[in-house]
């Protein structure tokens, strides 16, 4: 499966569509156990991303993901801004100079993104954050060694739903303690949207 600048742009564009559509839903998830801005943050950031990358021409994936990263860092704010910003920054480093990435290279780049999220947020699996989606999804892809993006998206969905059962230990929901149980983590939901968009961009 070829993953070049065009595919990457399509990924972002589909991701943005999902996020704009689910803006209210993401915000409601965040109102339940956070501060009710996750949908607003993500919608603001990804809208800027698609506008930014639409007009520009990119020689390689690295420079495209650099722009995506910088835009997210500067526009999202909150916790998700630095986290997703760092994720895409790590992807841009992993894909620097590459016009196209094969399965292995893209998986490695996504792996770097996960490492970035964990380095920035210092969260581990089970703490009710986006890591609870990213980590099992990357485990799956790492094992498969091929970009089974549809299965990855389904797994992301399942893991997102699983965050309902967790008690938050990191992020804003941690302040709620046990009251955080029973609600889906908003960042896990937006992470699911990213994996779903990737699947659609590559296979849809």
């Amino acid at each position: 499966m070829a993953f070049g600048v065009e595919q990457a742009k399509r990924w972002m564009s589909i991701a943005n569509d999902h996020i704009q559509q689910q803006k209210q839903y993401l915000t409601e998830l965040d109102q339940a156990i956070g501060d009710g801005d996750h949908g607003l943050n993500m919608a603001r950031g990804f809208q800027e991303v698609v506008e930014k990358i639409a007009s520009a021409n990119y020689e390689d994936l690295g420079s495209l993901f650099k722009d995506i990263s910088m835009t997210l860092i500067a526009k999202v704010g909150g916790a998700s801004g630095p986290l997703y910003g760092t994720a895409f920054l790590r992807m841009s480093l992993a894909l620097a100079g590459k016009k196209e990435a094969d399965d292995k290279e893209l998986i490695a780049a996504l792996e770097a993104a996960l490492d970035g999220i964990k380095a920035r947020g210092k969260a581990n699996v089970g703490e009710k954050t986006m890591v609870d989606v990213w980590e099992p999804v990357m485990e799956f892809l790492r094992e498969k060694e091929s970009l089974q993006v549809k299965e990855a998206a389904l797994l992301a969905k399942e893991k997102m739903e699983h965050t309902k059962e967790l008690e938050a230990k990191k992020g804003r929901a941690a302040y709620l303690g046990k009251r955080s149980v029973g609600h889906i983590d908003p960042g896990s939901a937006s992470s699911h949207l990213l994996f779903a968009a990737l699947a659609e961009a590559l296979e849809g």
Partner: protein, 331 residues
């Protein structure tokens, strides 16, 4: 949602314009940013003191920009940490070569964004120190979790770090003083009503006519516990006892007290809360050096209050009493 606003998506910009227009001799808005700086920034020979966070906590943080407190406030979207590029602009605008202290409330987003800005500033050769405020005793303290939140007690950090910086102290000294405040300040809050983020359009949670949220933060999120409404005396007792459990004050200790309104609470009610707080402290023979009653760190139009206690020693008292000339706090 009924609010005195124009477009819900432009409240921060509109607010900052209105604020800059109100105080042209005190403040400047850095062009193209959501950063408010002292009109005379950078101040020569002075460590820069920068704070900020999401908007919606007014007068925090821009209300504390001025002589004796902050050099700059970085204003994020409502309840959303500002981004690193904005924080970086603030740092650059106030650095006079003596370095910059960042006062950060302990929220994952704030910590990460300010840290990223600090890294960028260091890369540009600016000396940056950070202090993370986590005064909210409602949340269990633990190194395995996010830890405690920073709430109204942060204003004491601004005051004391700002006073020391104004005297020309070094970055290390200012940082140490700020950390000392963090170690000695504890707060806890409660809400009678939720609040509505303008762009979200509906309240962050719901409360019945006879319910309150105890252990509330300042971002419209639910508190630690929902309970039945109680009298002001009982509420003051709950909050203050939780604070005192954590602080372990002794007879004769001196404190500063802050009774902070969350946005929609009439001043009358804050004074009623202070009646009980002052009685309880007197009974325990804790000496009140100064009491602050008013809106210092709000949560939009939330009704409710927080109580903060800062344990003082001679050096903190001197800095607390030092002059300050800001919109929201003057001495």
């Amino acid at each position: 949602m009924k609010k005195l606003i124009n477009d819900p998506n432009h409240v921060v910009n509109d607010m900052l314009e209105g604020m800059a227009a109100a105080y042209p001799n005190r403040l400047r808005r850095l062009p193209g940013t959501n950063v408010i700086v002292r009109h005379d920034a950078p101040v020569k020979g002075k460590v820069g003191v920068v704070s900020g966070g999401g908007s919606g906590h007014e007068p925090a943080h821009a209300g504390y920009v001025g002589k004796g407190m902050l050099d700059a406030a970085v204003c994020g979207e409502v309840f959303t940490s500002p981004t690193p590029d904005q924080v970086l602009e603030a740092i650059k605008a106030v650095d006079s070569g003596k370095g910059v202290l960042l006062i950060i409330k302990n929220y994952t987003g704030d910590v990460m964004n300010f840290e990223m800005a600090a890294e960028l500033a260091e890369a540009e050769g600016i000396n940056v120190a950070k202090v993370i405020v986590n005064d909210d005793v409602a949340v269990e303290d633990s190194t395995f979790t996010t830890g405690r939140r920073g709430i109204a007690g942060t204003v004491f950090v601004h005051k004391i770090a700002g006073a020391l910086a104004e005297r020309g102290a070094s970055l290390e000294e200012v940082e140490a003083a700020a950390k000392k405040v963090v170690q000695n300040v504890r707060s806890m809050g409660m809400a009678l009503t939720p609040c509505t983020v303008p762009a979200a359009g509906k309240p962050g949670f719901e409360l019945g006519e006879n319910e309150i949220e105890v252990g509330i933060g300042i971002h419209g999120e639910p508190g630690i516990e929902k309970t039945a409404i109680k009298t002001a005396d009982e509420i003051a007792e709950t909050l203050l006892n939780k604070i005192l459990d954590d602080m372990k004050l002794e007879k004769g200790d001196r404190v500063a007290v802050m009774i902070n309104g969350l946005g929609a609470t009439p001043l009358m009610e804050l004074y009623i809360v202070n009646k009980k707080v002052s009685e309880m402290l007197e009974e325990k023979q804790i000496r009140i050096h100064e009491t602050f009653v008013g809106e210092y760190m709000t949560s939009l139009e939330m009704a409710g209050c927080s109580i903060s206690l800062l344990k003082l020693d001679d050096s903190l008292i001197e800095l607390l009493d030092a002059p300050a000339d800001t919109i929201a706090l003057k001495k």
